[in-house]
């Protein structure tokens, strides 16, 4: 069938969906109310935050506020020790004024102790230069508190009585000034990006109606019996729902700009929002297709939207307060694009990838026959299909890999639960060796799960069972490795150490699971003996690793 014809069909399906959406008064009403709220709220926030001096309570996190110190006097020991004693401050010493670090948001401000400052002979003035983030307000308060504490401490001493004065210098009081309007960094860097994400979370009802609703109303069947392919049905629905969300995003962005709020790169903002809308809509459609009832679909969508929204909040918060703002995250990319200077494609590509993957899965789900009866395939049924279909060794490998995330997550949860309980109930000398043994047992049993299912569902050769065991162990180890690499990247660990450790762990997993799988295949006394040998091997490895870590 020619491409033009497919496009025409897609447009017809999308047009019908869109008409259905626009014909529904409750969607339009909800959209109108939300837009009116936006219109009312934004100017209020804009006015409230225009001075740029908003301060929020300081969380008692160690080193939460990075501050630069330039000690040009060499006689500020008491002041610096007072500042060091404050947990929330992280002091970074510089020999020259760290303007560049302040500009890049690496520090919240810096304290300049001039050469004339002498604690031993009457004190003097210090200069506190503050950046434009909310941390600046917190830093100012921390420094002032330290100075006050120092004053009272020195007041009790004979002789020295320094006069310490803090000079505040905001680098920039406001970020942008448009005619008579001034906008704080918080307003532009946090609130506006957050507001722009709202429309993405407003179309859940429409997604459920177009997927679960249509499935339950049984209006899908005439479509499935028409010349449309399943892919065209999914794509047509997606286009309509995405178009609807995209339209809302565009209107909101347009309204924000109409209010004269300066958005540096509206094109990039819209691009990232549309990509995020695509991934959220497609994932929502997939959940809607899988749901058995509207109630279940709403719950599933809530479980998708809440973490996604929290993700947006966390990204914006981390970006604003710590400067950690990787452009690959849509919220970070939008925040950067609002202020100017972003590489939007970094955020766009992964989102489009998620959307494509969700749509392909959605098409596959629609191809499942259970969908017509408002049902869905169970996880066990799908696993059975994998195990029973296709080449024997391939099925074993697929089963092992498919169950690896489940085995890993369950093992981690069990180990955490055991650690939490045993360390509270038992003395450490007893709890620790027991924990090592228990975690090895849990991991080995869970890695054996696909092997046990494979043996139960299929009369398989020893080679295929071994392939299943190895893929299960490799999958388990791959997840561990991915987490270790992410940890090293975030916490600044050494990649070569991680790689060496992971290689050893992978070897152990492969060996132990093979031994245990061999035990599972053999009956009689060999079964418990080989499985126990695998657990003991795993435990010995863990003890060795723990010893090595402690020794290092």
């Amino acid at each position: 069938m020619c491409g033009t014809r497919v496009v025409v069909l897609l447009i017809r399906v999308a047009e019908r969906e869109l008409r259905e959406l626009l014909g529904c008064r409750r969607y339009l009403l909800a959209f109108a109310v939300q837009t009116l709220l936006l219109l009312a709220l934004l100017p209020a926030f804009s006015s409230l935050l225009s001075e740029g001096g908003a301060t929020v309570p300081v969380p008692a996190l160690r080193g939460f506020i990075p501050v630069g110190v330039v000690d040009m006097s060499g006689d500020a020991e008491l002041l610096l020790s007072q500042l060091s004693s404050r947990e929330e401050l992280s002091l970074r010493f510089y020999s020259a004024v760290p303007e560049e670090e302040l500009r890049r948001g690496k520090i919240a401000g810096y304290l300049l102790v001039p050469p004339a400052y002498r604690e031993s002979s009457g004190g003097g003035s210090v200069v506190l230069v503050l950046g434009n983030s909310l941390k600046a307000g917190m830093l100012q308060k921390a420094v002032e508190d330290s100075v006050t504490a120092l004053r009272s401490e020195l007041r009790g001493r004979a002789g020295a009585y320094p006069q310490i004065e803090v000079v505040r210098k905001f680098r920039r009081e406001v970020v942008v000034q448009v005619e008579d309007r001034r906008y704080s960094s918080f307003f532009l860097g946090y609130l506006i990006p957050l507001v722009l994400f709202f429309p993405l979370f407003m179309t859940g009802g429409a997604v459920v109606d177009a997927t679960t609703g249509e499935k339950l109303r049984r209006t899908l069947e005439p479509l499935l019996a028409s010349p449309l392919s399943r892919g065209e049905i999914v794509a047509g629905k997606f286009l309509a729902l995405w178009g609807f969300t995209g339209m809302q995003c565009t209107i909101w962005l347009g309204l924000v700009m109409l209010m004269d709020i300066p958005v540096a790169e509206p094109g990039s903002v819209l691009l990232v929002l549309l990509a995020a809308a695509a991934s959220l809509t497609a994932s929502g459609m997939l959940l809607g297709m899988l749901a058995k009832s509207v109630k279940e679909a709403n719950l599933a969508l809530m479980l998708l939207y809440i973490p996604a929204f929290i993700g947006v909040l966390y990204t914006l918060t981390a970006g604003f307060f710590t400067g950690f703002s990787p452009s690959v995250l849509p919220a970070a990319a939008v925040a950067q694009a609002v202020s100017g200077g972003t590489e939007a494609w970094k955020a766009v590509l992964p989102q489009l990838g998620i959307a494509a993957l969700s749509l392909v899965t959605c098409r596959w789900v629609l191809g499942r026959e259970e969908v017509l009866s408002g049902s869905r395939p169970s996880a066990v049924q799908l696993l059975r299909e994998v195990a029973l279909g296709g080449a024997e060794a391939g099925a074993g490998v697929k089963l092992g890999l498919l169950l690896a995330p489940f085995s890993f997550t369950t093992a981690m949860l069990l180990e955490l639960l055991a650690a939490f309980t045993m360390l509270h109930l038992l003395p450490r000398t007893v709890a620790l060796p027991l924990l090592v043994l228990l975690s090895a047992l849990a991991e080995e049993m869970l890695k054996l799960l696909p092997v046990a299912l494979f043996l139960r569902w299929r009369r398989a050769s020893a080679g295929s069972v071994l392939a299943c065991a190895l893929s299960s162990a490799a999958g388990f180890s791959a997840i561990e490795t991915a987490l270790a690499i992410a940890g090293a990247a975030l916490l600044g660990g050494s990649f070569s150490t991680v790689a060496a450790g992971r290689f050893l762990t992978l070897s152990m997993h492969l060996l132990a699971t093979s031994v245990a799988a061999l035990g599972l295949m053999r009956g009689g006394c060999l079964r418990p003996a080989l499985i126990s040998a695998a657990v003991l091997l795993h435990s010995a490895f863990n003890i060795m690793l723990l010893g090595a870590v402690l020794w290092v």
Binding site: R16, R19, E20, P222, A225
Partner: protein
Amino acid sequence: MIVFERVTKRFGGVTVLQELDFRVAEGEVFGLLGENGAGKTTALRLLCGVLKPTSGRVLVRGLEVSTRTREVRRMIGYLPEEPSMYERMSARELLHFFAGLYDVEEAEERAERMLELVGLAERADSKISTFSKGMRQRLSIARALLHEPPVLVLDEPTSGLDPLSARQLRRLIAEMSASRTVMLCTHHLQEAEELCHRIGILHGGRLVAVGTPEELKAGLEEHGWSSPTLEDVFVWYTGGGVANPGG
């Protein structure tokens, strides 16, 4: 025209249809009878390409449904068991939408003709949500006939209708079947006898009997029944061969 060639269909571990093997000739009206869960709807869905057989093949005019799905679907007008339609659309809008999917030429005129044929011309612009079940069923027929398909597949077309609406619909189906091959499944034996040239009886996913109503009844007479009805035939094949109550 329609060929079911050793078709088996399994859902999970359950076999819904087993080795289904029969042919429907051009212009024939073939009825599938069977108790609930016998596999009638599944057989029709396989014919329309909504489902795929686990083994065997279904052919329409020589084209295999699972490989030439799009072409086969263009040849079929399908009336599903539930006359579910887009509630917010009007009857006319619905027909225009489906006309677009089937590439119907002169779609507007064709839609008007169909609406007149099923007696819904006066309600053409009313929302489907305001329609009774009988009106929905007639609109479904109009939708199924819209692209002038040579094959009509009807899944319990008169189910849930009042006697008058059911009679009107049967008359309509009889008119339509004059120039088409029709495959229908129904629970109404009188309807089957009235409309179908041949009947197949499904029991537990197997085709246990095929023939004209007269042939099926004659077959029962050979078992010692006197003047059996189609209901007797149905009970004989699906109830495990009970003794002739009138014998």
